[in-house]
């Protein structure tokens, strides 16, 4: 075991995957010689060469579409999209082809590939570098959506994503890349897709969240415990597609109160689906309406206003108070 940051765990996962399987390769902008702008692919070019750590032209549709061809042919491409906002040019390949080729060909052609996408805000970057794109793709059938929240899960989920027979969007919480270290095994292991984790156990209310917001939820839970004595359960969804409905509903039935937390815009988001599912499966258990803590229906603000947008501990505690006092 070694203490790793989240970015180190991702780098380690890539090395482990590439050593295990000669078909695994990484490609994208500046992922070779430079090791990626966040250094996620650091050292891969040196260890595996230019045919497996491939610097591509600056054209997302081009390298995402080409990676689809590679995946269909039998390689295992792990594509790095430099920043969330730059996935837009590749949108057509994702929604029209990568997500559909299995269905379109009735299983003759499949597209097992991973798109690693540094996601969400919190690093005070320029415009288009801080987007929450999960809701865009949660509505696309045929893609899987995975969002790790800590170094251990990041490595295990990424290795599971690389092994998965379907295309996976892997949304990395970039503000947690170097936020903290955790014990991470150096060997191969996977964390299964579609299984949520209970990040903190509790009986009084549930916070359903994922990615960078798990840290916010844990801090809010500490605050609520200290200030009010509430025992908050924090469910880290880890994967949005497939979704671990049993864990979500089990927790809500137990605590009877729920808050959903994300920094995506408020309206028509994936978090709204969580509320709809609770409505479908656990309405009669609820003691209070489910509260949502979200970003606002505005474009992600620039760095000076970023903190106004991203939900912090106070907004989460306020929502928890709301559902507890209803």
């Amino acid at each position: 075991m070694a203490k790793m940051t989240l970015i180190a765990a991702i780098n380690d996962a890539l090395k482990v995957a590439m050593r295990r399987d000669p078909n695994v390769l990484v490609l994208g902008e500046d992922v070779g010689v430079n090791g990626g702008v966040f250094r996620a692919t650091d050292g891969l070019y040196q260890e595996f060469g230019e045919d497996r750590a491939i610097d591509t032209p600056l054209a997302e549709a081009g390298f995402v579409g080409a990676a689809m061809g590679m995946a269909v042919y039998g390689l295992k491409p792990v594509v790095e999209i430099q920043f969330d906002g730059f996935l837009a040019p590749a949108h057509e390949h994702l929604v029209n082809h990568i997500a559909r080729i299995r269905n379109r060909s009735r299983g003759r052609f499949t597209c097992p590939m991973v798109l690693r996408i540094p996601s969400f805000g919190g690093i005070k970057a320029l415009e288009h570098h801080s987007e929450s794109i999960e809701s865009w793709y949660a509505n696309v059938q045929g893609l899987k959506l995975v969002v790790p929240s800590n170094p251990y899960d990041a490595k295990g989920l990424l290795l599971a994503a690389i092994e998965d027979p379907d295309p996976v969007l892997f949304l990395e919480p970039k503000r947690l890349y170097r936020a903290f270290r955790q014990e991470v095994p150096e060997e191969y292991y996977t964390v299964p897709l579609g299984k949520a984790a209970i990040a903190r156990e509790g009986k009084d209310l549930t916070v359903l969240t994922y990615g960078p917001h798990v840290q916010t939820a844990l801090e809010a839970a500490e605050r609520a415990a200290a200030d009010h004595g509430w025992q908050t359960e924090v469910v880290d969804l880890r994967s949005l597609e497939p979704l671990d409905l049993d864990t979500i509903i089990g927790s809500v039935k137990k605590t009877r109160r729920a808050v959903v937390l994300t920094e995506a815009p408020r309206t028509s988001g994936f978090h709204s689906e969580l509320i709809a599912l609770i409505n479908d499966h656990a309405l009669e258990y609820l003691e209070a309406p489910v509260a949502r803590v979200t970003g606002f229906d505005v474009p992600m603000p620039y760095l000076l206003s970023e903190d106004l947008y991203i939900p912090g501990v106070e907004r989460v505690v306020a929502a928890m108070t709301e559902v507890k006092s209803w």
Partner: protein, 371 residues
């Protein structure tokens, strides 16, 4: 240094149209190295595809098939672009108008018919036939063709891929990204453009300023060639060179074949709104099938009697495929759910069960007999 004014360069001469046969079937250039059996084979394929295309149009008109995209007039491109590929090894990436090339590579006619009848199983091409399913979004498939070629190169397989696109599709960003990636990574991908003059209704003059599409190759520093797309022998000659280049590590080629679709863009389109009868007649006089027939007759390889027999054979073959396609059952309810992921998600399982329950209540059971 002088600014290069490309408008002053004679691109039409630089990319002179390659031709082997004149419209009347007489020789315009050196004959490609094809055995008599191969010449008859490509003729047979063109006749078959013309019969298939015409019958499919009729099926759509009779309400027995959905929207259909015909290729009649483009048979030399359809056959010539795919005939020399190695089946089971090389790959093609067709558009909705390239179901002729698909059949040349080995996709059964029944698959194409089922596709246009609205059954996804049509796109489940048999193992060993490396045709991607039809791509409807324009030019996207070129990037996939480059990706597969690139993967094959990385795996040291001497595979060749052919990506299909029309004149309109060359305006898409993906066309340019595909050419750039093919060039940078020297992938064994052939980009085969069928310039049939109109993107639905929009003519070449409103699509691009260049005098040729082939000259786009200059911008990517790859070989480009223009060919008479109504001349199967010229298309075959050009493809042989491109395939040899790709297979021997020489990288991509951009092929612009000049052609014309006799019919509508799809069965929902009325070409009389945007092109003249005279233009159609002019192109029909260059018909690829008639041209090769005259050549074969002049060479003493073909008789009128054989020709009559061939058209009759083709009609029967197509009829048999239609009968088979129409006798297939509607897709089962499960089929729309079972291929979204390798394993259906719990939510998909719930939705499938719901639909089956609903259909059960409506008295239609599990069979897809709705509509």
């Amino acid at each position: 240094m002088a600014t290069i004014e490309t408008g002053k360069l004679n691109m039409e001469n630089l990319f002179a149209i390659r031709r082997v046969l004149n419209s009347d079937g007489t020789l315009a250039g050196p004959e490609p190295n094809l055995a008599p059996a191969q010449l008859k084979e490509v003729y047979r394929l063109m006749v078959y595809l013309r019969s298939f295309d015409q019958r499919s149009l009729n099926l759509q008109r009779q309400g027995r098939m959905g929207t259909f995209a015909p290729f009649s007039g483009q048979e030399a491109c359809q056959v010539g672009s795919a005939y020399l590929l190695q089946k089971g090894k090389d790959w093609i990436f067709p558009t909705y108008r390239d179901h002729g090339a698909m059949q040349v590579l080995g996709v059964p006619s029944v698959n194409v018919l089922r596709y246009y009848m609205g059954d996804e199983k049509g796109s489940r091409v048999p193992e060993g036939v490396n045709s991607f399913p039809i791509s409807i979004p324009i030019a996207t498939q070129l990037v996939h063709a480059v990706g597969v070629a690139w993967a094959a190169k990385l795996k040291k397989d001497d595979v060749v891929t052919v990506g299909y696109v029309g004149d309109g599709g060359t305006s898409e960003g993906d066309f340019h990204e595909a050419l750039n990636f093919a060039a940078v990574f020297n992938t064994p991908a052939i980009i085969f453009i069928q310039n049939n003059r109109y993107a639905i209704s929009t003519p070449n003059s409103k699509q691009f300023k260049t005098r040729t599409i082939a000259q786009r190759a200059l911008g990517y520093d790859i070989p480009g060639v223009r060919v008479d797309g109504q001349d199967i022998l010229a298309v075959l000659a050009v493809m042989q060179e491109a395939i040899d280049r790709a297979r021997s590590g020489g990288g991509p080629t951009l092929v612009e074949a000049l052609t014309f679709r006799y019919g509508p863009h799809t069965t929902s389109d009325d070409p009389k709104r945007y092109r003249t009868e005279e233009e159609l007649v002019e192109w029909q006089a260059r018909d690829p099938i008639e041209r090769l027939r005259r050549y074969l007759v002049a060479k003493g390889l073909w008789t009128d009697q054989e020709d009559e027999g061939l058209w009759s054979w083709a009609k029967d073959q197509v009829a048999a495929a239609v009968t088979e396609a129409e006798s297939m059952p509607r897709p089962a309810v499960d089929e729309i759910f079972d291929y979204v992921y390798a394993e259906p998600t719990p939510e998909l399982v719930r939705q499938k069960e719901y639909l089956k329950r609903q259909l059960g209540r409506q008295g239609s059971g599990e069979a897809n007999t709705h509509g």
